[in-house]
């Protein structure tokens, strides 16, 4: 924990109302300002007590405080360093240790995740729940959700997707772990949208986890290993831009150079800097529309994923892309900057707080009375879907920005 970063905090408290755990509990120790104070105590010699570790673990890492901070405190760096310190120093309960080990040996490995998918029946179940809702609202979107093959095997993406019409750019595409295995239709839609907008899309099959999951959970060594592999894979693919459709992955990949610098690895930092990671919405907004948008008569509520809005500052682009679709009405979700409780692995490790936040978010989402919820992060999608199901309300279909654009670009409503 870097004392200089800690000292940047002037204790003004502007972070408090943006912090999900402070919103829930109203306690200083579970606010960014309070956690920084705890970090300071630890740096000054106070041992890492169970209580202290508990308050660090309770942080979602949503980075809303980074957005709110007028003093520019790098809470993102601080909590990353702190989590690593907690993993090194703090002895967890055996059951907690086992759960963590399971998650870290499973989620960042697409092949292991795939093996888990069938028994979990997660993907099939999701589609079953979503499809009828979509069918009622808009059959084209239902078709879109059904793009994944009947059997929940993965969508086989080609290594290369040719640009439709004149080629405007060549980009790499990250397929991700959870996104690739649980939401393969999102990756398919992403590749199609990019192609229809004139991009040649390169999808190296050898790619794996980008390192976001271990990085956000205090496992920097595993994260660095994954980061190196990701950089190398895309270098070999010969692209200088990687389009990412999962918020958590994108935010980590944008930090690659900084991560390598942090461990004094100048060579890899240079290699990382030579490749630009960019969020899909951010990239499409920059590129400007080329393909024709077909109408989608839908009321859409857009959910800000924390790692997109706070960590990457991408807020306006997805909204602009959606609003530009004829017939589509964009609705804002109240308290949009407060995390839904998914936060990577948070809903696995802190289920109670995650549940409370999920319920809170579900209420705000349902209040929009939108036909469709758009979420650009697989974790948020699963979290909000399950919270709405829990509330007993009629399920609201959830799609990624890419899927909505895909439906519009292909004029799916006419196809269906």
């Amino acid at each position: 924990m870097d004392p200089e970063l800690i000292d940047d905090c002037v204790h003004c408290g502007f972070c408090l109302p943006t912090c999900p755990t402070y919103v829930l509990w109203g306690e200083e120790m579970d606010s960014p300002r309070g956690r920084i104070h705890l970090m300071k105590q630890h740096v000054e010699g106070t041992p890492l007590t169970d209580e202290m570790a508990g308050h660090f673990d309770a942080c979602l890492g949503c980075m809303a405080c980074v957005t709110a901070c007028p003093s520019g405190v790098r809470y993102d760096k601080l909590i990353e360093q702190t989590r690593a310190e907690v993993e090194r120093e703090h002895v967890r309960e055996p059951s907690d240790r086992a759960l963590r080990e399971l998650v870290f040996q499973l989620f960042p490995y697409p092949r292991r995740l795939r093996a888990m998918r069938l028994p979990l029946r997660l993907s099939a179940g999701l589609r079953r729940r979503i499809a009828p809702g979509l069918e009622r609202v808009n059959p084209s979107l239902a078709a879109m959700a059904d793009l994944a093959p009947e059997r929940p095997s993965r969508v086989r993406l080609p290594r290369r997707v040719e640009a439709v019409g004149r080629r405007r750019a060549t980009v790499g595409m990250l397929t991700g772990c959870v996104q690739g295995e649980f939401f393969p239709q999102v990756n398919a839609a992403t590749a199609r949208v990019l192609a229809m907008e004139g991009c040649e899309v390169v999808i190296p099959p050898a790619q794996g986890c980008c390192g976001a999951l271990p990085l956000h959970s205090g496992r920097p060594e595993q994260a660095v290993r994954f980061a190196r592999r990701t950089v190398a894979v895309f270098e070999r693919a010969g692209v200088d831009t990687i389009v990412v459709n999962a918020a958590g992955c994108g935010s980590t990949m944008k930090e690659y150079a900084e991560i390598f610098e942090g461990i004094g690895d100048g060579e890899w930092a240079g290699r990382a800097r030579a490749i630009r990671a960019v969020d899909l919405a951010e990239y499409l907004a920059e590129l400007g529309p080329a393909a024709r948008r077909h109408p989608l008569p839908l009321a859409v509520a857009y959910h800000d994923a924390c790692h997109l809005a706070h960590a990457q500052g991408v807020r306006s682009q997805p909204r602009e892309l959606l609003a530009a679709i004829p017939g589509l009405e964009l609705r804002e979700i109240a308290e949009s900057s407060i995390c839904c409780g998914s936060a990577g692995t948070y809903n696995l490790f802190q289920p109670e707080a995650a549940r409370e936040l999920g319920d809170r978010k579900a209420g705000r989402v349902l209040a929009t009375r939108a036909d469709l919820l758009v979420s650009a992060n697989p974790g948020c999608t699963m979290q909000i879907t399950s919270a709405i199901r829990r509330s007993g309300a009629a399920p609201i279909p959830v799609a990624h920005t890419a899927q909505v654009l895909d439906a519009s670009l292909r004029g799916l409503e006419k196809v269906a």
Partner: protein, 484 residues
């Protein structure tokens, strides 16, 4: 913890919901200061009550054990008003944040003390109402803290301070009684006495606020000047001309630099000072006044004028100003936020004196102020790693207050006296004045248990019993605070 506090903590646990009493030393330390970090004291016990009855129970138990108590909201105060007592109980109202009732017909809302200032406005905005006082920390600071400090904000020039917008209060007296103070009650204005008493007369548990009708038209103008003198001239000319803007704010070059670094507010390049003038009211009146303000600014030498076209541009203009305090953290490792008042006409002279002080001591001072009512917020910048810099900054900061007093102003405009400025009180008031104030204090709190050590430099008359301790206060002993 002493035995008394140990026992008190046990009793508090019986009286409060599970988890509402904090005694773990690591957790306690996170409450050691509010927004003013150079005064620190780890509270003996922290309690997080959820109702007026629970607060009353806490206060009664404190009385029983003769232990002092301090109320705290979000801990954003800038005068150390919520500085805890190592020998006392810190009563934190952050869990009491329900909006209990909104009565639009009678333009009032009843809220719990932990509700943030901005949350009130957000709750009624869609109906065309808002809560007028707007401290810069409005999205964080609580209404309970606003009541304690009689908080102002940029718009208090036209609309007044918290005291003008609170219609009734439910408080827990230092004896542990729950009573209501209502502005409509005949007799002495006890509500007026309570607002701004900085927690020394009891703890607020419910606030009835006035809701104001959102104005028909709002126009925000940003004027850039070569230097602060020109800006000051414009302020005097605007107010002298009979225009009362909703707000009229000034920032100097250094404050602009900080705000740019923090929020990239994109104020005009090369400005030595910017003035933010906001006009609101009926559209015709605003249009007329706007023309007048524009003319005055140009006459005073403004080289660029910008008018906000809509709410977003208006927010963009305000963003730099509202974040200025904390933004200074970007250009200086440490700083002191000062708060003083001078007559508006003395502004140019005082600002020139501050410049001289700054040069003389090698300490940079950034100026942000509510120019319309002469409320200065000099930000005294220093590097805490440099030996002696902190002391020099303290000196400059103190000398600025002397300047305010010399010019017939005040040592605080809106941040309160707290623990930080109690030592300046004798410079502004005679012993007789202070004794008279203490009589009011004693009428509410005869044992001096409610936020002792704040406002007054020395206990007088009824005396402030420092809880169970006798002799030197632990803060004084450890050199973390001084008592006069």
């Amino acid at each position: 913890m002493t035995e008394t506090l140990d026992e008190l903590a046990r009793r508090l646990e019986e009286a409060l919901p599970p988890g509402a009493v904090i005694t773990d030393p690591v957790r306690l330390r996170t409450y050691e200061c509010d927004g003013l970090t150079h005064h620190r004291a780890v509270p003996g016990v922290v309690v997080l009550p959820e109702s007026a009855e629970q607060i009353a129970a806490v206060v009664r138990l404190c009385g029983e054990y003769g232990v002092p108590f301090v109320a705290r909201g979000a801990g954003t105060g800038l005068s150390g008003g919520a500085l805890p007592r190592t020998d006392g109980v810190l009563v934190v109202t952050s869990k009491m944040r329900r909006i209990l009732a909104v009565d639009l017909a009678n333009r009032r809302a009843v809220v719990e003390p932990g509700v943030t200032n901005l949350a009130i406005t957000e709750a009624v905005r869609e109906h065309g109402y808002y809560y007028a006082p707007d401290p810069s920390s409005q999205q964080v600071c609580t209404i309970g803290g606003n009541v304690a400090e009689n908080s102002g904000g940029a718009h208090c020039l036209k609309y007044g301070f918290t005291v003008n917008h609170v219609l009734a209060l439910e408080i827990v007296t230092p004896d542990g009684e729950i009573v209501t103070l209502d502005a409509d009650d005949p007799g002495y204005d006890l509500l007026g006495a309570f607002v701004g008493s900085e927690g020394t007369l009891g703890i607020t548990t419910k606030v009835t606020v006035r809701l104001s009708r959102a104005p028909q038209a709002v126009t925000t103008l940003l004027a850039a000047f070569k230097d602060i003198e020109q800006g000051g001239q414009a302020v005097s000319a605007i107010i002298g001309g009979g225009v009362v803007p909703a707000a009229i704010e000034m920032m100097d070059a250094l404050a602009i630099e900080a705000a740019e670094a923090a929020v990239a507010c994109a104020y005009p390049r090369g400005a030595g000072a910017v003035l933010i003038v906001e006009l609101d009211g009926p559209a015709a009146e605003v249009a007329h006044q706007f023309a007048e303000v524009e003319r005055v600014c140009l006459d005073s030498g403004a080289f660029e004028l910008r008018t906000a076209a809509g709410p977003e541009e208006r927010a963009a203009i305000w963003k730099g100003r509202k974040s200025a305090f904390a933004a200074v953290g970007r250009i200086s490792p440490a700083y002191i936020v000062q708060d003083g008042v001078v007559p508006r006409t003395a502004l140019p002279e005082v600002l020139a004196s501050i410049d001289r002080l700054s040069a003389e001591h090698g300490i940079r001072v950034a100026n942000v102020f509510h120019a319309g009512d002469g409320n200065l917020h000099p930000l005294v910048l220093f590097d805490d790693a440099e030996p002696g810099a902190g002391e020099r900054a303290e000196l400059v900061s103190g000398r600025i207050l002397d300047l305010c007093i010399e010019h017939g102003g005040s040592i605080t405009g809106e941040h309160g006296v707290g623990v930080d400025k109690s030592r300046y009180m004798p410079k502004m008031f005679t012993d007789d004045d202070l004794d008279t104030m203490q009589l009011v204090r004693c009428a509410f709190d005869s044992r001096g248990l409610s936020n002792p050590g704040k406002i007054f430099p020395t206990p007088r008359l009824c005396g402030e019993v420092p809880g169970v301790r006798k002799g030197v206060h632990p803060l004084v002993e450890s050199g973390r605070a001084e008592q006069f």
